[in-house]
Symmetry: D2
Subunit: 304 residues, 4 copies
């Protein structure tokens, strides 16, 4: 299937929405991006790539990195992960401490900040250098060695990310971090600062649409059922406190970030990445969500 | 595809689990059912029926009725529903009042009790007699006129269901019921008391797998996109506070009830209903959940 | 000590505040009172009475009735009360259901609505007719037979008090009511509808300042230590979610009501009642709180 | 009045209770104290001192230091304090983050950890060296230059106090700390590590019973009404989530610490300090609470 005309139609329809979102103010370094940026890329598992707009421009992937970190943790620990992290939607804000207190330091899922901190802690315990190892992993997934962290973004987040520091110390107080809070936080912040384009992100996540294997060389990243598990977690927990609304409107497993990116997967077909910096009140890209909604409507493809 | 052998394999595998669940004690009339009951039925949209065990025996469908009530409300009100009910997973118990207070009387979704009470209120406002109209609707969906309420169960629930009475009054205090709390509660309790078999439930829900139409006569119940919406809501909100775990293990949109039934849908393929009275700590049928997990594993069919 | 000049000074100072409060809208029948009403009465334990303004005009005492109901329950059950009700400030709104859910149906204290419903339930279990018995009790405490319920207020509250109905059913669902929710609610609403003047309220509560005895005939209402207990409960739990602020500013045990009345006690000295219908955001009389603050400042008398 | 015989009676009565409490495990350095320690000292404002048991032995005063830090902040900022801290009981655990999130980073009162961190932040902003300045202040209040921090306790708390680190970062994320979280935390932990005896604590707090002045030289520490304010805050917020129970049983303004100390004040009469390391489930000294209850019962002196 050729998605070129559909992508053009989508771009045309979402243009008026680009200025309606709110650019994140949680990370000063990200505050000055132009709200008019918009890119979208579809990578099919049979090797076709479709793109439009700023699809080749790098942006801060932020929480989308949680998908790749989780994949690493599943490689390293398998189902042991679930003794320290739940897999339920949180029903609260992505950085809330309330649920964590009521549930004794067990984060609700690996896609809220607290859960990703525990995931990062697992990676450190196994591999030591969690920054380097995630970067190597992304290089393999994307088949692209030039991808790197944006150290200015990481620095900016460290200077202002007191709530994440609170979460890390809170987790440690419950005994759910094995490494020092500052070390876990440092690696986590770097993971979030990864700078990638829509094309790179779509390519890096094709293993989720392809039963856990890289399509171009058939290398197994994770088992087929583990890929399904990650897709199910994206659908139920991947888009902050609006997973229900997102599933209703878009109908694809997805993970979003405050940088304005959203990565979505259609099993056995393709992965798709959209980027537009303006966010809706739930913290997901406003025009990006609409673009994906249009995509599943116009193609008639969704998991439901 | 012929599912007979798979159903037999499943029945064999789950038999040892039948006594491990806990039969609900929230409704005295349901407390005395045998934990050894197990039935499962698959109804494909092309008209094939596969069944095993006690699939033809009627049981109390309880919260599964919320799917049918929601369908009626979508017929009557369309997207206006969402001004009075959210569509996000609750992250709390199915009958919690906490979230309702924090969110000013707007239930998180139509599949928790508070949400279903608002749905019932909508039906009463449009049609007056919500008991009769839901029953008529089920007769049409199932093509089976003999289905009826179990008035003993309804009576038992009314005598002991003080928390539902609290919810109804609480909703009214926020102005989110237009009718008298006692009237809404009465209709709601009757809906829950519907007595149906796995075969009847699977058949009654084929419209959700078939783009909103009854497969046998092509009658449109709801629009195709509305059927998708309901499927997405079942996946993100249908199995109490374990939707993430359920999606992870089973990977199908589903709605469960404390009577031990679970209804699941595979879009464009089939609907499936399983019944086993023993519940897991989340309130979903323990053996029923396992049976559905085995079903998607053995068939290789799921939405992910 | 002669408080006449001080009361006059207070009246002068609070007059500009009378229109700054908000008259309650929770009970329609109370919504039409003039905000300019202001009365204050001091009844010393040695028999002197000082009053000013509308101190002889009857108003709806609402939650102040909880003090008298608690006194009855302590007569009937002694310390057994505390197996079903806590004695800690709630840290939440007076009619919140959140805490009740987290703490399994045990209200935080007898001065929030849930606690008073349990107190009322105790009175019904012992005496049957809780309406009549509280009225008889007030007649004895005030030495005034003409005091009665305002049935219009009670009716108005029943028609609109869905949150209290929710609380009663919620308590019943936890097994913390022995009688039918509707019966407990009916008696509770009547207690709240008591119509009394500042003079009558000050007189009715002198037993709390006088070691549990009526000053004029030395009749023991409750033991001296029980009177101290009630005073301590008023100080820590008597003025909704602003007990700390009230203790800070006024420094006397007190109980307020949404009708605009506040009853306060200075042990071994006097009881004092003030009435002004306009409420502050915490639900306590705005001018009434200021009047009591001025009273303890000008007299130099407080418990601290 | 001579309290010698009463103190002897109390010591006799509480001896069997000494082993019933639980020594704190939150600070490893405090875990090895003998549960049989018990001391009590009464310092009257007219200069008499009564003591029994281990009243002259130093212990870790922990949260009792919050009274002295608050006094300093009131000297420095007056009522401006209350723009950044509330004065209501929390209704939750002393180190809960839940309320802080719901109330946007404004701690409920200065006696929970979050509130004391903000108080410490104020002292740093005014005086720079908050460790030194509090120590100087205690030397003046106690007229005793030898009092010092226990650096082993401070070190032990820093190594393990991840929840306090979470609170400090959380407050900073809401903009309610002006200094670096690590600096505020360091000073706060030192304040808690003050090592003082019952005699020293009783003497250091006589200004609260004496209208804000040191009895021995009439020096004004704070205004008389400010002393009343602190007493009222101790009564409504000083003993964790059991202020209601404590007021009910003891009836004095008080502040407790996890080291097993409790400081209480009877305005215009005396201050009293008791120490016994075993805690009740609320975190207050078990035998210490009983000793104070006996003291107010046997002397007939309380604020109610």
């Amino acid at each position: 299937m050729n998605y070129t005309a559909i992508l053009e139609d989508i771009y045309h329809q979402v243009k008026p929405l680009l200025t309606q979102g709110q650019i994140t103010d949680t990370i000063p370094e990200l505050a000055h991006i132009s709200p008019l940026k918009f890119g979208m890329a579809v990578q099919t598992i049979d090797g076709s790539l479709f793109q439009i707009g700023d699809a080749a421009e790098k942006f801060s992937i932020q929480s989308i990195s949680k998908v790749f970190a989780l994949t690493m943790a599943m490689q390293l620990e398998g189902d042991n992960i679930w003794t320290r992290i739940g897999r339920e939607p949180s029903g609260t804000a992505f950085n809330s401490l309330v649920q964590l207190e009521y549930e004794n330091g067990i984060p609700r899922n690996p896609f809220i900040n607290a859960g990703a901190l525990v995931v990062t802690d697992m990676i450190i315990s196994h591999l030591g250098d969690a920054r380097r190892s995630l970067l190597d992993f992304i290089h393999k997934l994307s088949d692209e060695q030039g991808i790197d962290y944006d150290h200015d973004v990481a620095h900016s987040e460290r200077e202002t990310g007191f709530r994440n520091a609170a979460l890390a110390n809170f987790l440690k107080s419950f005994g759910n971090l094995n490494n020092a809070p500052a070390d876990v936080l440092g690696a986590y912040i770097h993971h979030c600062s990864l700078s990638m384009s829509c094309v790179e992100l779509a390519r890096s996540s094709t293993y989720l649409a392809n039963g856990g294997k890289l399509p171009w060389n058939d290398e197994t990243i994770i088992a087929a059922n583990q890929a399904k598990y990650i897709n199910s977690l994206m659908l139920t927990c991947g888009t902050y406190d609006s997973v229900g609304d997102f599933a209703y409107r878009v109908g694809l497993p997805a993970k979003s970030g405050v940088g304005g990116g959203i990565l979505a997967v259609m099993p056995n077909e393709f992965s798709v990445c959209v980027w537009s910096p303006g966010l809706n009140p739930s913290g997901n890209s406003l025009a990006g969500t609409k673009a994906l909604e249009l995509f599943t409507t116009l193609t008639g493809i969704s998991v439901f």
